[in-house]
């Protein structure tokens, strides 16, 4: 393996890890606060990608500059969060917070099934491709390897900003502290006047926006196909489980591990590349069942 291939694999891994991390961040945030694993997260990711492609295509056809694709990504992500995430929490999840875990899993799984068909109805089964955002930023050459600015600089930058932004938001703003308080002890938080329902709604919408944003940012780099949501939910679960459910910083580390592992496998042994994330997950969980950064939960008797 020479330097060029090494660098290519490294860059692939970093840009891929950034995308996966953004999606996993939403998943782990929702789980950390609400103790619900949102299986429909993968669909929100896919719909974010589809919405971006459609909106960008529409506005570019009207004669806007390609740079306009970037605000449209944000718009699609927020649309996904508010129009889909909001009602899901408000109409469904709110009814099942006190139900067993398995039931909650089944409910979000049902939402996932519904949304997979919604995508197919709205966008059909043919692949979409919309790379104007990727082209708008041009290329950069590092040690003789030319790579797109979008994937090498923008995606990791967004991921890092989100990581530190979310940390800051949770620890140093009033709303963030309300969320942490509700996470810690819902009843105690309610008794001092925190509206836990609103906190949950807000958290879920933020998580859904992150899923949509992941899809929006991924859209210029790949073709958008049915089934991408199913792949993403399993992959982001692998990231989140390897880190330990609810671990935000841990998810960043494992996303990088899994992203790099996968991209190096692409160059070394392409057949098994898709398996690498799961192999990493299984190996980690064999040694540390709670994940790398999770701690064993004390059991209540």
């Amino acid at each position: 393996m020479n330097l060029t291939i090494f660098l290519l694999a490294l860059f692939d891994g970093i840009s891929y890890a950034a995308l996966v991390f953004i999606v996993a961040l939403g998943l782990t945030l929702i789980f950390g606060v609400m103790r619900i694993l949102n299986v429909a997260h993968g669909s929100l990711y896919a719909i974010g990608a589809y919405a971006t492609v459609s909106l960008t295509g529409f506005f570019l056809a009207l004669g806007f500059a390609p740079v306009f694709a970037f605000p449209l990504m944000l718009v699609s992500a927020v649309l996904v969060g508010v129009l889909l995430g909001g009602p899901i929490e408000w109409l469904l999840l709110r009814r099942i917070y006190d139900k067993p875990e398995v039931l909650q899993l089944l409910v979000t799984f049902a939402v996932f099934m519904i949304l997979e068909d919604v995508q197919r109805l709205l966008w059909g089964t043919q692949p979409y491709f919309q790379a104007s955002a990727l082209q708008a930023l041009g290329n950069v050459t590092v040690f003789g390897v030319t790579y797109t600015v979008y994937q090498l600089i923008l995606l990791p930058l967004v991921a890092i900003c989100l990581l530190f932004g979310l940390r800051f938001f949770l620890r140093h703003t009033v709303i963030g502290k309300l969320i942490l308080a509700t996470t810690e002890d819902r009843e105690a938080a309610q008794s001092i006047g925190i509206d836990a329902d609103r906190v949950f709604l807000f958290t879920f919408v933020v998580g859904a926006v992150l899923a949509g944003l992941g899809g929006a940012l991924a859209s210029p780099t790949t073709s958008i196909l049915p089934g991408m949501g199913a792949d993403m939910i399993v992959l982001s679960f692998a990231v989140v489980a390897t880190a330990g459910l609810g671990q935000i910083e841990g998810a960043a580390v494992t996303a990088l591990m899994i992203g790099l592992g996968r991209s190096f496998a692409v160059y070394v042994w392409p057949e098994v590349a898709v398996l690498v994330p799961y192999l990493i997950m299984v190996l980690v969980l064999l040694v540390r069942p709670e994940g790398l950064f999770g701690s064993p939960v004390a059991r209540k008797i």
Binding site: L37, L92, R95, I96, K99, P100, E101, V102, L103, L105, L106, V107, F109, A110, V111, F112, M113, I114, E116, D117, V118, R120, L121, A230, D231, V234, F237, A238, A241, L245, E271, V272, V274, L275, Y278, M281, V282, L285, L286, P289, R299, I301
Partner: protein
Amino acid sequence: MSDISRHTTARGDVKSGGMPSLRALLTLLAVLLLAAVPFIAPSMQLLINLALAKGIAVLGVTVLLRAGQVSFGHALFFGISAYAGAFLMASLPGADLILVLIAGVLGAALSGLLVGLFVVRYRGIFFGMLNLAFSMIFWSILEKFYHVTGGADGIRLPRPTVLGMALERSGFEAVIFYLSIALMVGLGWFTLRWFASPVGQIFQTIKTNETRLEYLGLSPKRVLLSGYLLSAILCGVGGSLMAMTQGVVTPEYVWWVRSAEMVFIAVLGGAGSVRGAFIGALIYEIVRVYASAYAGDIWQMLLGAFLLVIILFAPKGIMGIADGLIHRGGKRRATTAEEAR
């Protein structure tokens, strides 16, 4: 705690108030009716056969629901068994049907043991999602190593011989059909007995109070593993029957949609109910065939919506509703002697 995976303690034989005889009678009638399908409705035979194969696999998911666990990846064992049968037929042309079945079940049991050893350390979310991850891994292996597995087109499973005889198509279909019915009755009965056995009782305690189990000095992991093995074997039998009926195996056998379908049918039938698994599978297949002409594009959407409705409004599924009807009927007959319909 009222949730879907608690069925109304349907340990048929310990039900009070003359109910078991009615239940047994209805079951017997249903089995006889199914056995008569090739004579009264030959056009339905294939459809019912597929439904029975699926029903046996759904029974596997049902077993796990009794322990309060849901697996989103049990199509893995369904598929492994089907592929094991197909590979056997490829390397040993003209192998016997029983051999194909045994190869499939062995494959399912072996993989069930390996995956089981890993996933029994987890409950709830992790249990469900790790199973999903394993099935997705196997699915991508099937797709990627196409020179061995035939890729997305899958591989053909030629018609096996039956006790050394090479049968015509119609004869073979009849054999498979009655084999499916026999396996349904046998495995259904076995599963009911297993639930009532000490191991089965301990297995169901994982749902109600696992901590207490540990205090008794029992290992929940080991018990869950035995239930997991049973569920993998049941899925394997279903997959093997399905593959022999269809004559071809594709990666679609392992795809998450298939696992979701199994969970859906298990919940529809009445989570945790053995009879419910088969009733659910029959209703599901029949509705699917007739609805797919009109609603093929939104089938998954309908399933999802219906799943939500069942979970939120009829958590005991079809068997819960049927039990309610039988119960009410029994009461009313006792008081007013009027037929409740």
